[in-house]
Symmetry: C2
Subunit: 521 residues, 2 copies
């Protein structure tokens, strides 16, 4: 699809492979009728838009939507020497740390390299603790090779290391390696748990409560599984905390149309950057208990805490310490190698801990993942390094801590710098980025801009993001991709670009924003 | 679950984590009532066996079923010094090459190690071609790191290499990198395509034609997606070829209860080891055309051809060369890093090529995989090495070819040795293993054994496999896990153990088999 004057509705039909919708049309409806006409003409196919699984047709994933595809196109043009009003595209659309220049942790990569190519065990430049860890892991692999399959839930000693990590994190509350499964990133674990909750065809749809704004893996998977999305609005006025009245409103409304079965919480928040207080978590747990909801806590940003007055509390720890009936509640919590200080997205490492699940359901879960065989072993190894990093006295400890601190300190500084700059702009307010990797400012879009966007069948925040990309080469994700209160407009940007680059980003944004306000005054 | 005198029905409820069904019962019905009583007592849970997604409850994946779990238990006991009538368990249940002692390809691991830990670029012991390949791949990664996400269908230059590989394999028929997506093993690609075919709730169920015997990923996924399995029997009398009359019978019968939409073919066959003739493939394509079925060809064993009178023909090549209306048929074909001569199962590398798909469906497919972000980058790198190995004149060429030939020659020899031995036994016949990695012999089980098994609520081949494991420590998969003509009994064994170990396997099997026949005479 050509962007610009052509279809920019974000229906996902055209852009991926340079073919598909190329029509000029001014609303989603006229676009869809173009589409329908086109594939009627192609009806010799078994699969066309009319015969495709409708859930696949309906799902959306904005983090990789049309804006990003446009950005990739612009980058290619710049490379080919096409003149643009900016020297380069700056991407702040996705939490892809290494792509934004963050360096891998040396120890992590040494361990994975040793597991990959064991002759390196004889290389004196590799430290002894990396070698010892690699040896231990290889000893647990079939044929001492990370090319062998593991058990479907992951290598046992790695699950033991993860259990020890969780127990330490939670002040000694024990974790059971048999209640942990390693996964292909956190996404894969989240999808596996959501799948368990699906009601039989013909029954009321499964309701899944998710925050609005949310990370769109949730909305996409809910559509894919033909479940019902039960959005609860986070409270922007209290730095995106969970409001129990709002949770109650959402679940009550939902019970009329679906059977709510799970409550998903993202803490620290994506895209919203809040870190929940312990008290907020306690009230949320009580709510879930009263409403008989299974808890799903997405805690992939647990290492990314920047606000001096906040710390990370895992749902498991809080629920266990609340005791009594709460300590037996079903909870699935998720972690990943992709975020934190390591940012190893490409390894697709992750884990899911399921607490207080019915043992027979656990058996079914295990069975259901067995056909996928196992998550990538190198991703499992990466997860092990996160769970069991070098300890004081180990040869790699100092370098590891230096690298870790460097990344986290820089993120903290960038979180503050970003929020300050955004809040200095007219018609823009941004909550404190207490954690995670994103700012989610609200824009007061002028009426004239809203009208223009609507007349073109676009969301106003999509138009804002699109113009920003075209004019200044900045790539962000419109708030509508995450959900927001009707009539409010936001965008998500990462705080990942290196400091100088982030400064440049914020300067370009400032110029654009002021121009945008003026244009639509 | 304790095995032995306890529940061995393979219902998948108990064994995984050492809790669950521990009851003595003699049929699946009494077992299920025990189960139901147990979880009624636990009804405080949101998720229990009554409220779990019924598709998850129903799915089965025999390759990692109760026999394997029992084998793992026996291995642990042996390790702890428990006396058994055999010194070790020999596993021939799964196509896990490295676990059975096959060595990784040196060049493959060098390239992945270099991508993992780029300081190795300065290591003079790594060959120049490995370094060049690693540099090229890193140059296509965000931030030059395999820790960055790639585009959801995979890194573009790797998809280009895969396209070139396919074109070369198919005698110059071009392949389009935009019609290739890299996947987490072949399984992930197969699941992504099957998902597209799902009919809306309320419509007739989607029918998927699969061979019987089949690789149980298919049956498991069909149940998981609430589709309808349309089994067509392979013809054991003609070395497991596809009989068009049987395909027709199956599809006609199926149309009464579902809407058949796809025909899956596994070539070379798993678990059956046949390599289809070109003529057999042509007739199959004609059948699919007549019946308006999308073709799915699982070609993960394309490098594993042993019969001197057979060669691998890809469905794409045959369909294209047939020309006319056939050349436009929709086909998805699958490959993987897990099999062949490389056997890199743990990297979960793979690809899917979709040929002649409606471009709008391709766009939807791409969108649907975007929420999963991307397959593991190290798996993508492994796929690249398979697609673009060292060429004559490259520093690594000779070693690469030596290692490749060594693996494939050994498999060829073991295929022959296995079949000869199996056919030398009374009450056992085995077709030629023309390709892939498995033998699938038929056992004529004595009536008395059938009666005993049935009285215990077990499949006779399950009982055979179970007794074989208990008495001789040999781990195979009963034919009922793959499907077989009613009243026939088989098992699948891999030909992967090293020659000496395979010999020992076959000797122990011989002694057991003769004893078994005698016992149930």
């Amino acid at each position: 699809m050509q962007f610009g004057s052509l279809c920019t509705l974000g229906h996902g039909l055209g852009p991926w492979l340079g073919h598909g919708c190329r029509s000029r049309h001014s609303s989603i409806i006229s676009c869809m009728s173009v589409v329908r006409m086109t594939h009627r003409a192609m009806s010799s196919k078994v699969l066309n838009l009319d015969t495709l699984n409708p859930c696949i047709k309906d799902m959306e994933y904005s983090v990789r939507g049309p804006i990003v595809i446009k950005a990739v196109g612009l980058e290619k043009e710049l490379k080919q020497g096409v003149k643009k009003p900016y020297p380069s595209v700056i991407r702040a659309n996705i939490g892809d740390c290494h792509a934004m220049g963050q360096k891998p942790m040396t120890f992590m990569r040494q361990v994975i390299a040793l597991c990959t190519y064991p002759p390196l065990m004889n290389d004196p430049t590799f430290p002894a603790d990396a070698k010892a860890k690699a040896k231990r892991i290889l000893g647990a692999c079939g044929g001492n090779s990370i090319g062998a399959y593991s058990e479907s839930p992951g290598i046992e000693i790695i699950r033991q290391d993860v259990a020890a990590y969780i127990a330490k994190r939670d002040g000694g509350i024990p974790a059971n390696p048999d209640q942990i499964m390693l996964s292909t990133g956190a996404s894969d674990g989240i999808k596996a748990i959501l799948k368990l909750l699906k009601q039989p065809d013909g029954a009321k749809k499964t309701g899944i409560m998710i925050p609005i704004p949310q990370y769109p893996l949730y909305s996409a998977t809910i559509v894919e599984y033909n479940m019902h999305q039960v959005g609860y609005f986070l409270d922007e006025d209290t730095n995106w905390s969970l409001d129990i009245g709002e949770l109650k409103r959402a679940v009550d409304a939902a019970r009329k149309v679906c059977e709510p079965r799970a409550l998903c919480v993202i803490n620290p928040g994506n895209p919203t950057g809040q870190v929940l207080t312990r008290e907020n978590i306690e009230r949320t747990i009580k709510f879930a208990k009263e409403e008989k909801l299974l808890l799903m806590s997405d805690e992939v940003y647990q290492d990314n805490i920047y606000a001096p007055d906040r710390e990370f509390h895992s749902f498991k720890k809080v629920l266990t310490e609340m005791g009594g009936e709460y300590a037996n509640m079903e909870l699935a919590s998720f972690h990943s190698t992709s975020k934190g200080y390591m940012g190893e997205c490409g390894y697709r490492g992750g884990y899911c801990e399921f607490v207080n699940f019915d043992p027979q359901v656990v058996a079914m879960l295990q069975k259901s993942i067995s056909a996928k065989l196992c998550p990538s072993i190198s991703g499992q190894v990466a997860m092990d390094v996160v769970a069991a990093p070098p300890q004081p006295g180990d040869p790699s400890y100092e370098l590891f801590m230096k690298e870790k601190t460097h990344v986290l300190d820089a993120l903290k500084m960038k979180a503050q710098m970003t929020v300050e700059m955004l809040n200095s702009l007219p018609n823009m307010t941004c909550n404190t980025v207490q954690g995670a990797m994103y700012a989610f400012p609200q824009i007061t879009v002028p009426e004239k801009a809203i009208k223009k966007a609507k007349s073109e069948g676009k969301a106003p925040d999509f138009m804002y993001a699109y113009e920003l990309l075209e004019e200044k080469g900045l790539c962000i994700v419109p708030g509508s991709g995450f959900g927001q209160r009707p009539g409010t407009y936001h965008f998500r940007m990462t705080i990942l670009p290196p400091p100088e680059r982030l400064k440049e980003f914020l300067e370009r944004l400032k110029v654009f924003h002021i121009g945008f306000l003026k244009r639509y005054e």
